[in-house]
């Protein structure tokens, strides 16, 4: 009998389906790997099990008995402990306090039992003593720790629950080799004790090093479970890709442009900064260069560094034949760069202001306008908005009255009045509807055809495969592989993204 079984568990946030049908069955004494591409629903599944997300439907059985998990405390009561991908640490509290936080040991009078707390924390800190680093101690506050050390604290916190079922949602993303090896030793020990472990990782070598079985989730649905000994990385990737592979370079894919005969408008050599290193690429006029790979592998960081949002550590950027190093976005805009982010709230819309004001800030900056004459501006704005089929009531309406897709069109339109040379797109279609996406990509391809250089990072693989002339696959802050021509398949994309360095 399975230790834990999930049957048809689903969760929707508004119109977004995070998990369609999650099925999972975990035995005692196994390490069960979950794998799936960005946004396929792995984390949602784990959070449902850990009680921090309430499912819309489905059944959860523990030891064969159906249970409802009302919240994180209830989950702990059912013997489930979890490592959260985004960590759940209190950053001003010490390492020891964080490890014991869910269940602070208390004396009979209700005070924190410092001795017991330190003793309990020391037990878990000792597990990683050799690999945690010299400056790691029980008294250090979490915000003085490095990213890998924080991740270790979250691991210790999960271990300290001593739960029979432990969930690890990407616990190794910041760890170095030695730390991962130590962690795996500990996991094997837990397995030998008969505990059940759910393990999520994007590194294929880790999955095959530690897993007993692997379950693949695709588009919010469990598509299959295999024994690790009876499968191989290629087969797992094929399961993740599914039947979609034939569609991949489909109808709309542009011909692989012969970039050689066109002059590069933007070239980047050996660029390094926070979150990426040794990144080099060239974009020609009229070319769409895709950035692919898993979420957060440095794609956004590179784009933001080029645009002058984040500082560049080292490397060289050449724009239109001249060296370029923007220290801020204003400078980048003046030199003819454009940047559109999928995070509209942070980088895009000027909330609460009229549409007209939202379309014109770049125009103002580039033309050094001092006074706003709405009538004259409206003349210049309309063609840009019409090019995108933007639906809006009037230019004086606040931007918040529009849907997400139309807001994003407004944000893009602001770059169309004075044409930039290079357009940097940072996951531009996040959270917008299908028809807006179609309009957007039609425009992007038209802009490319008219000679603009375009860099497109998208977390949706189909968008990349259908639109990019070349795809650079990022992994761990570096470009791992370049896919051109007929190589641009979903299979190759996944393989490069999931294969460890």
């Amino acid at each position: 009998m399975s230790k834990i079984e999930l049957r048809g568990v689903g969760k929707a946030y508004g119109a977004t389906l995070a998990l369609r049908r999650g099925d999972l069955s975990i035995d005692a004494g196994e390490v069960h790997v979950l794998i799936g591409s960005n946004g396929s629903g792995k984390s949602t599944l784990c959070k449902i099990l850990a009680g921090s997300v309430r499912p819309d439907g489905g059944e959860i059985l523990i030891d064969g008995r159906p249970v409802t998990i009302g919240g994180p405390r209830a989950a702990r009561g059912h013997g489930i402990g979890i490592f959260y991908q985004e960590l759940s640490l209190a950053r001003h509290r010490s390492v020891a306090e964080n490890i014991c936080l869910p269940d602070l040991p208390a004396t009979r009078a209700g005070f924190v039992d410092r001795d017991a707390l330190e003793k309990r924390a020391a037990r878990y800190i000792a597990l990683f003593a050799a690999v945690a680093g010299e400056d790691f101690s029980a008294e250090t506050t979490v915000d003085n720790l490095r990213a890998d050390q924080r991740q270790l604290v979250e691991i210790m916190k999960a271990l300290a629950t001593e739960a029979p079922v432990l969930i690890f949602d990407e616990p190794t993303s910041a760890l170095d080799r030695a730390q991962v090896d130590r962690f795996f030793e500990i996991l094997r020990g837990l397995k030998a004790e008969g505990r059940s472990i759910i393990f999520i990782s994007h590194r294929m070598d880790e999955i095959f090093a530690i897993g007993d079985r692997v379950t693949v989730i695709r588009d919010g649905e469990t598509v299959g479970t295999e024994k690790i000994t009876e499968t191989n990385p290629a087969a797992v990737i094929r399961l993740m890709v599914g039947a979609q592979d034939e569609l991949a370079p489909g109808h709309a894919a542009p011909p692989a442009a012969a970039a050689a005969d066109r002059s590069p408008v933007l070239s980047v050599r050996a660029l390094a900064g926070k979150g990426f290193a040794n990144v080099g690429f060239e974009v020609a006029r009229g070319e769409i260069l895709g950035f692919g790979g898993l979420h957060g592998q440095g794609q956004s960081s590179v784009l933001r560094a080029v645009f002058g949002v984040n500082p560049v550590g080292s490397g060289e950027i050449v724009l239109d034949g001249k060296p370029f190093a923007a220290s801020n976005p204003r400078e980048a805009i003046r030199r003819g760069l454009a940047y559109v982010s999928g995070d509209r709230g942070r980088d895009g819309v000027i909330s609460g202001r009229p549409i007209l004001e939202n379309v014109t800030p770049i125009h103002f900056l580039r033309q050094k306008l001092r006074l706003a004459r709405p009538a004259a501006l409206a003349e210049r704005v309309r063609p840009a908005l019409e090019a995108l089929h933007t639906k809006f009531g009037g230019l004086a309406h606040p931007i918040n009255s529009l849907s997400g897709g139309n807001q994003q069109k407004i944000v893009i339109a602001r770059w169309l009045i004075d044409r930039p040379d290079v357009l940097l797109l940072d996951d531009p279609t996040k959270g917008i509807d299908l028809s807006a996406k179609t309009d957007l990509f039609t425009l992007i391809r038209k802009l490319a055809a008219e000679g603009m250089g375009i860099v497109l990072y998208s977390s949706e693989d189909a968008e990349l495969l259908n639109n990019a002339d070349r795809i650079l696959v990022f992994n761990g802050g570096q470009v791992r592989r370049e896919l051109t021509g007929a190589d641009r398949t979903r299979y190759n994309l996944y393989q490069a993204a999931y294969e460890a360095a």
Partner: protein
């Protein structure tokens, strides 16, 4: 090179010190203000002068402590002053009704504590259980509590019985009562700092979502924070009643934002997760010392508010600068 390494190790030590005791910058400012007070009015730093200062500002210290526990969790209580007013009039009216004997005083104080606790729990329920915005919700309850206070005592002026304020202002074994109160307070705070609740409040203030996901009962913890705030607001009311010796349904209103200022002056983060009650006490002292300093340097009365305001701004800036320098 040698000097550079020296300075980094020294600032590293300082950084650790300030991290461990976030109220150090505030303590420094308080000492400077105390010295200035002594410079302009030597008698103000005498035993009697200090006694007077503590007697007058013990209420604000209590209210600053009350506010701290709420701020720990990233919340705020704008009704703290109104709770002071309500408890003030409740205990004065009760003492008067029961005849003003020693027993009646103790009984009235007990009921006062319960009233403060009840107000705190109401705030906690409104903010944490009903999930209303803390600023607006406690602003609303502050009006509500003030309304209750006005119902209990429509006009200020009912005197508190002599047994009560004579004790508060009196001496035992030649030591003023307020110093005993301060010592008891120190013990209570020491004990409270060691409870699970303190750590849990701070953890909630750091990241409520993370605390929830860790399995902490976040709603209950926040309600308990407000309840503690209500209790200390009641204690603040006792102090103010001892100091003014009368009931006034509006006495605490203007103290609310002073208590918030004291918390910030004491080095706590309004966003939660970081701070100390000792800092808030020092913050309240800073405000008291500024007020007396403004008086001692002979500021014309029509300018006193303006100078006080400026001085608090300067103290805030100094605290931020010292703290930043030390932590850099």
């Amino acid at each position: 090179m040698a000097t550079a390494t020296l300075s980094t190790t020294r600032s590293g030590g300082l950084k650790r010190l300030v991290e461990r005791y976030p109220f150090l910058p505030a303590l420094l400012i308080a000492l400077v203000l105390l010295a200035l007070n002594g410079l302009y009015q030597p008698r103000s730093v005498s035993f009697i002068g200090i006694t007077g200062l503590v007697k007058t500002y013990l209420a604000l210290m209590m209210l600053a402590i009350a506010q701290t526990y709420v701020v720990y969790a990233g919340d705020i209580d704008l009704s703290a002053g109104a709770i002071v007013s309500l408890v003030n009039v409740v205990i004065v009216v009760l003492m008067e009704k029961m005849g003003g004997s020693g027993f009646s005083v103790v009984a009235a104080l007990g009921i006062g504590l319960l009233a403060g606790l009840a107000c705190g729990v109401v705030n906690g329920l409104v903010v944490a259980a009903l999930r209303l915005q803390a600023i607006v919700a406690t602003f609303a309850t502050s009006i509500f509590f003030t309304g209750l206070a006005l119902y209990v005592m429509p006009v200020a002026g009912t005197p508190a019985p002599a047994a009560f304020w004579r004790t508060y202002g009196g001496r035992f074994f030649d030591i003023p009562f307020v110093f005993y109160a301060v010592i008891i307070l120190a013990v209570v705070l020491y004990v409270l700092a060691r409870t699970r609740l303190s750590t849990q409040l701070l953890a909630v203030g750091d990241d409520a979502q993370a605390a929830f996901q860790s399995g902490l009962p976040v709603t209950r913890i926040r309600i308990q924070g407000y309840a503690l705030c209500g209790l200390f607001a009641a204690l603040a009311a006792f102090c103010i009643t001892g100091d003014t010796a009368s009931g006034d349904p509006l006495v605490g209103g203007k103290m609310t934002l002073f208590s918030v200022a004291a918390v910030v002056l004491g080095g706590s983060a309004l966003s939660g997760g970081y701070g100390t009650v000792v800092g808030s006490i020092i913050g309240a002292l800073i405000i008291g010392l500024i007020n007396s300093l403004v008086f001692f340097v002979g500021t014309p009365s029509e300018w006193q508010n303006l100078v006080q305001g400026l001085a608090i701004l300067v103290a805030l800036m100094a605290g931020v600068l010292v703290g930043r320098r030390a932590r850099a």
